[in-house]
């Protein structure tokens, strides 16, 4: 180490503290007796010192407010598109009407009748039939409501995809 000069990489590693303790003491020993390497080290110290200095952040003092304002503007734009697009509402209307028509023509009592053909006990079949007769309209109401909600939920998702939603 003392015989030859220190390489640039070695000096940089020394200043970065990326060397072992043994290597560090060898380098320091060499530096004490070699003015050329000491001069090189001093040059690198100046460079490191300059590189470590923070840049002056000359952003407008209202920078954060401007960013937040742009975010809100884009979000409002997206929300307004989401609210007024007539095509999406037309799709939703057709979807719900179709679901309503479908449910109206389904004979729920018959469905319960088919179920009763399965290997259930006679008492259970009887109870199924009674339930079907009594609550056919209520069932239709819930199924229709469920389908309607499903279609609207799907349309909401489609809106997001359709406009490549603001939140990506």
């Amino acid at each position: 180490m003392t015989g030859s000069h220190l390489s640039d990489d070695k000096i940089q590693s020394y200043l970065d503290n990326r060397i072992s303790k043994t290597e560090k003491s060898l380098i320091e020993k060499h530096l004490r007796s070699c003015t050329e390497c000491m001069k090189k080290l001093e040059n690198y110290e100046m460079i490191f010192g300059e590189l470590d200095k923070e840049l002056k952040v000359d952003l407008n003092e209202h920078f954060t407010d401007s960013v937040m304002s742009r975010i809100r503007d884009e979000q409002l734009e997206f929300e307004s598109k989401k609210e007024v697009d007539p095509l999406i509402f037309l799709f939703a209307l057709v979807g719900v009407s179709f679901a309503a028509a479908l449910v109206y023509y389904i004979d729920f009592s018959n469905i319960y009748g088919i179920l009763s053909q399965l290997n259930f006990s006679e008492t259970f079949q009887q109870k199924l039939n009674d339930f079907a007769q009594s609550y056919s309209s209520v069932s239709k109401f819930f199924v229709l409501g469920g389908i309607g909600a499903g279609v609207l939920y799907a349309m909401d998702k489609v809106i997001g995809k359709f406009f490549n939603g603001f939140r990506g």
Partner: protein, 193 residues
């Protein structure tokens, strides 16, 4: 998981749940980092500010895709770097036009290692070094900024710039050596004059 990370995770969760105003904290925490990356790649102050805003808008739009596989700051630095690269490539903006008689594009800056063409009259070494740092190739400048000012390690920088760790380490050493040689070169020229 350290306290800071839990806070960031909660913050991102809340923002994704619709508490948009909390994004202000993300901007405040990272605007210095974004500015550092941008200012190394764009010299025009007005354009710089617009770019910084665009970057934070991108961060907001993509926040729900952040998977916590890296630090949030590294992820934001990556968006900042890529946005600046796209900006430079799209606009074909000449870089360092103040220091050079020719217009330099990104390709020139990446590939060419120019010799100093101007003796800085100011004898101040710090001023001279700042000038020479500005004249470095763009990737070198960004890497040195992330390493020295943002205190990122080689691996973290490698994730930001999508370069192998070995390349990042080699660029750090090469860039500083280049600065030393240019510094000495300027000294010699000044001695002659």
């Amino acid at each position: 998981m350290v306290k800071g990370e839990i806070h960031i995770k909660q913050l991102i969760h809340d923002i994704n749940e619709g508490r948009v105003d909390l994004f202000r904290d993300i901007v405040e925490m990272n605007k210095r980092l974004v500015f550092h990356v941008v200012s190394r790649m764009e010299s025009n102050e007005t354009v710089r500010e617009d770019l910084c805003q665009d970057i934070f808008l991108k961060v907001y739009k993509n926040l729900n895709t952040f998977k916590f596989e890296s630090k949030l700051s590294s992820w934001i630095a990556k968006i900042a770097y890529n946005t600046c690269i796209s900006h430079i490539e799209k606009k074909k903006i000449p870089l360092f036009e103040d220091n050079s008689p020719e217009e330099f594009t990104l390709d020139d800056v990446k590939l060419e290692e120019r010799e100093p063409s101007q003796i800085v009259e100011d004898n101040n070494v710090s001023e001279l070094l700042r000038t020479e740092i500005e004249r470095l190739p763009v990737q070198f400048k960004v890497i040195l900024t992330l390493y020295h000012i943002e205190c990122m390690g080689y691996e973290e920088i490698s994730g930001v710039l999508e370069l192998p760790v070995g390349t990042v380490s080699s660029y750090v050493y090469r860039a500083r050596k280049m600065l030393k040689e240019r510094l000495l070169n300027s000294y010699e020229k000044e001695d002659v004059t």
